[in-house]
Amino acid sequence: MSKSVILCGVGGQGTVLASKLISYAAMAKGEAVRSAETIGMAQRGGSVTSHIRIGEGAFSPLIPKGKADVMIAFEPAEAVRNLDYLKEDGVVVVSKKAVKPVTASLAAKVYEGQDMLDYLEKKVQRLVIVDGQQIMDELGSSKVLNVILLGAAIACNEIDISVEEIRQAIKEKVPERFYELNLRALDAGCQLAIK
């Protein structure tokens, strides 16, 4: 049985690390893994996506539209932008905080994340909205949104990977000095989704 996970956000938010952790954890279980990342110019604050496909039966590294089991969105508008990748009863884990692009600030056009979240509420059957800012304030780091969202996504039990398996991936792939911080971020994310 194959699983497809799409991560989306803004260049610089750390989508690539979250994608790598899922891939490594799945590979450690002996699963075949394919993934694709946005690399290049879009990394400079543009819209970015990572596609992960776990298990046999997938050919393309990119997920076809309507076939993603889980979406991990680092930004509300990016969730909406990529929503057509999600399958009918797919899970969306989305960060509450909007990242306002320069174009929106310049145009004086109001972009508020809430409009996007309202839309997601109407369209998505299984939606988890994550207030990562609160957790990051508690942890005293502004760089762990990716692992918080990952924790919330894992807790939804839709990707066949356990929290313990992600912990192991973090241990192996994240520099030791950030290990404890990332574990706390992961657990906080899990707790949030269970609630």
Partner: protein
């Protein structure tokens, strides 16, 4: 060594010896995924004629199995490890998305036995690799597709001269394009240059194929092109790769002087041209028979799909989805109707084209759909093959409008192409997705809701990027004056975006410097600026400056020196004093180069000292001749942040001048008030210089 004993019984007495051997190898290959050598002793035992049977008894079989391990690798890393497994001795290249990680991955795993360099540009890289291959070394040079244009001069001649050691020219194409100037197709380039071309469809195939590429190059004494595309280069997969002790060890014989071979003269070119044309059909037969070219599906099919590269993955997935939706088996034998089965041809070695394989693919087909990205290369070759062999067959693709001519393919676009060909419109219409436009998702139908307007999110200069300050300084200095701003290739191309709006042209690496001169010739009343990055200056900027000095042009050269090659992921270059072999060397000084070229006005300013920067631009712009300003401040990725800036809400008058003038992604408006996002601010302090009421605190202090 693994010993195995296999007893095989054949039912026919009329068996040719070679087919028996092929059969054994088939059994062995199925049983052992990786082998390097097979030794087999066997004997035939012929039983009575009436029994009509032969026993083949294998006395001894030894299979040497390569030791392998599993890694999660990017396509480019797989190419790198494949090259290392093939015993590559010399590696050169110039950074360019999506090719960069090949050279980086080799450098990262290098134990010092392989020579690795970032060359000053692709032409230099190709020439370094060529001489290494003349000497019997195995070499690879890496670049993106537009880099091949720079390297094309030596490559076209090298194709005639040839090599001794295996030489691979690794070129990454960029359908979309996602991070490039053009959608050129290196398969077509390979055909033009008369060089064998390999085109992998996945990271796993790329790992195998690059090893074959070295062997083919060495065998035929010709450089070969290994062309990959973004979705193969940047896709990750879990792969089995060889352990280090299994790597091929290429002993370098050394350069043998022979002017009849290594010195290109018209007479040699004439002779070699003839020889190349004779050899290419042989190479076509040889490469055509490799498993990289393969046919799948039914003999009974009347419809065929031909594809190559990543499009093969899209076709397979689209057919799998259609099988699921329709309950058919497209690549099976069972027919559920005229169009329920098809035949698939995957082309892995597009040049010289595997004509034999294409002909057997065409047998019995009435129509063919060609699915590929960039040029209609396979389509043209199939049309040529059909014409040459008088096959009456309808070939659909980009050339008859069946497939879109520009941009990437996707599983959805391929599915639509197949449905249209097979008249399955009902399936397609159900979930047609117009690529590139924002359409309401019709899979999710929990409630009807109108999609809110999405914010446009183009890439921008990072918060704290020194280029923002440089552009802003020139903009302020030139306010109200007629000026043209020639841009170039790098992060600083993003200076074209509002509100900076400081890039009027961008053509190719180094072009801005010479284009500023052309504008100056015809627009006498205009101050002509050229912006160039440090790495681009070394790659292709210097000749342009000499041209300006020699031909007495009037221009302002602005070198944006951020001490790295930022856009492609922060590679070192001649000005950084670091090499890919880990050596610390003398930095090549841009100031000294410019002075030596004859420039008398060369200023070095930190653009973050905004007032000084503006003053410097004003001063030099009024002087005659060729002037240069070097804006020196490191990229945020290679420097430490200053203390962050914040807005004093008591003092801030909400004029938003900081936002309107700078377009920094860290400055936004929350609940009607200007705020600086702490997770993004790098403390460059430019906003402090802009604020009319000094409401911004913190950040870098003026030195």
């Amino acid at each position: 060594m693994v010993e195995k004993s296999i007893h095989i019984r054949f039912k026919s007495k009329r068996i040719l010896l070679h087919s028996v051997v092929e059969f054994i190898y088939g059994v062995v290959i199925q049983n052992a995924e990786w082998y390097t050598e097979i030794v087999c002793d066997f004997a035939f035992c012929v039983y009575g004629i009436e029994q009509e049977s032969i026993y083949l008894v294998i006395h001894r079989i030894e299979i040497k199995v390569s030791k392998m391990h599993k890694e999660f690798l990017m396509g480019n890393e797989a190419i790198a490890l494949g090259a290392m497994a093939a015993g590559v001795n010399v590696v050169s290249g110039y950074p360019g998305t999506p090719s960069t990680e090949v050279l980086e991955a080799i450098a990262k795993r290098n134990d010092g036995s392989t020579y690795v360099e970032w060359s000053v540009n692709e032409k230099a890289g190709l020439e370094v690799a060529a001489a290494a291959a003349y000497s019997g070394a195995r070499s690879i040079v890496t670049m993106k597709q537009v880099g091949l244009n720079v390297a094309s001069d030596p490559l076209m001649s090298l194709a005639y001269v040839g090599v001794k050691g295996g030489m691979v020219v690794m070129v990454a194409d960029d359908p979309g394009p996602i991070s490039s100037q053009t959608e050129q197709d290196t398969r077509t380039f390979g055909q033009f240059a008369k060089l064998p071309v390999f085109d992998p469809s996945s990271a796993a195939e790329a790992y195998e194929m690059i090893q074959t590429a070295f062997e083919v190059s060495e065998k035929h004494h010709t450089p070969v092109i290994f062309r990959s595309t973004t979705r193969v280069c940047h896709a990750y997969a879990s792969l089995e790769v060889k352990d280090k002790e299994e790597y091929y060890n290429n002993e370098i014989e050394g350069f043998e002087k022979d002017s009849s071979r290594w010195v290109i003269f018209p007479r040699l070119s004439f002779r070699r041209h003839g020889e190349i044309e004779e050899t290419l059909p042989q190479i076509a037969d040889e490469l055509g028979a490799l498993a990289y070219n393969k046919m799948e599906g039914s003999k009974a099919a009347t419809v065929g799909i031909a594809c190559g590269g990543i499009s093969y993955a899209y076709v397979k997935e689209a057919l799998a989805i259609l099988n699921e939706e329709l309950g058919w088996n497209f690549l099976g034998e069972e027919t559920a109707g005229r169009y329920s089965v098809c035949r698939l041809l995957k082309v892995g070695t597009p040049h010289p084209f595997p004509e034999e394989q294409a002909l057997s693919f065409m047998d019995g087909l009435e129509q063919i759909l060609v699915v590929e990205e960039l040029d209609p290369y396979i389509e043209r070759m199939l049309l040529q093959t059909a014409g040459k062999h008088q096959r009456a067959i309808a070939i659909h693709g980009k050339m008859d409008g069946s497939v879109k001519t520009a941009g990437e393919n996707t599983v959805e676009s391929v599915k639509t192409n197949i449905c249209e060909l097979l008249h399955l419109q009902s399936v397609c219409d159900k979930d047609r997705v117009e690529s590139g436009s924002q359409v309401e998702s019709n899979v999710l139908s929990k409630e009807n809701a109108t999609m809110p307007e999405l914010p446009v999110r183009p890439p921008v200069l990072c918060a704290g990027c020194p280029h923002r300050a440089s552009f802003y300084a020139v903009k302020r200095a030139m306010a109200g004056r007629k000026a043209v701003f020639c841009g170039d290739i790098g992060c600083y191309t993003l200076g074209n975006a509002m509100p900076l709006d400081m890039v009027d042209t961008c053509l190719c690496m180094g072009a801005g410097i010479t284009m500023a001169q052309g504008f100056g010739v015809v627009e006498k009343d205009t101050t002509c600026f050229a912006f160039v990055g440090d790495s681009t200056f070394f790659a292709s900027g210097m000749t342009g400056v000499v041209n300006a000095v020699y031909n007495q042009h009037d221009m302002v050269l602005v070198v944006l020196d951020n001490s790295t090659t930022a856009m492609t992921g922060h590679q070192p270059h001649p000005g950084t004093g670091k090499t890919m072999m880990g050596d610390i060397v003398n930095k090549v000084s841009i100031v000294k180069i410019l002075e030596a070229m004859g420039l008398t006005e060369v200023r070095m300013v930190n653009p973050l000292d905004l007032e000084d920067a503006i003053a410097a631009v004003k001063e030099v712009a009024d002087k005659p001749g060729v002037k240069a300003i070097i804006f020196k401040s490191p990229c945020i990725a290679v420097s430490k942040p200053e203390s962050q800036c914040s807005v004093n809400t008591d003092t801030c008058i909400n004029c938003k001048k900081c936002i309107r003038e700078l377009g920094c992604p860290a400055i936004t408006v929350e609940d009607g008030k200007v705020v600086i996002e702490p997770s993004l601010c790098f403390g460059c302090g430019i906003c402090k210089s802009v604020c009319p009421v000094h409401a911004i605190e913190g950040g870098r202090s003026h030195e």
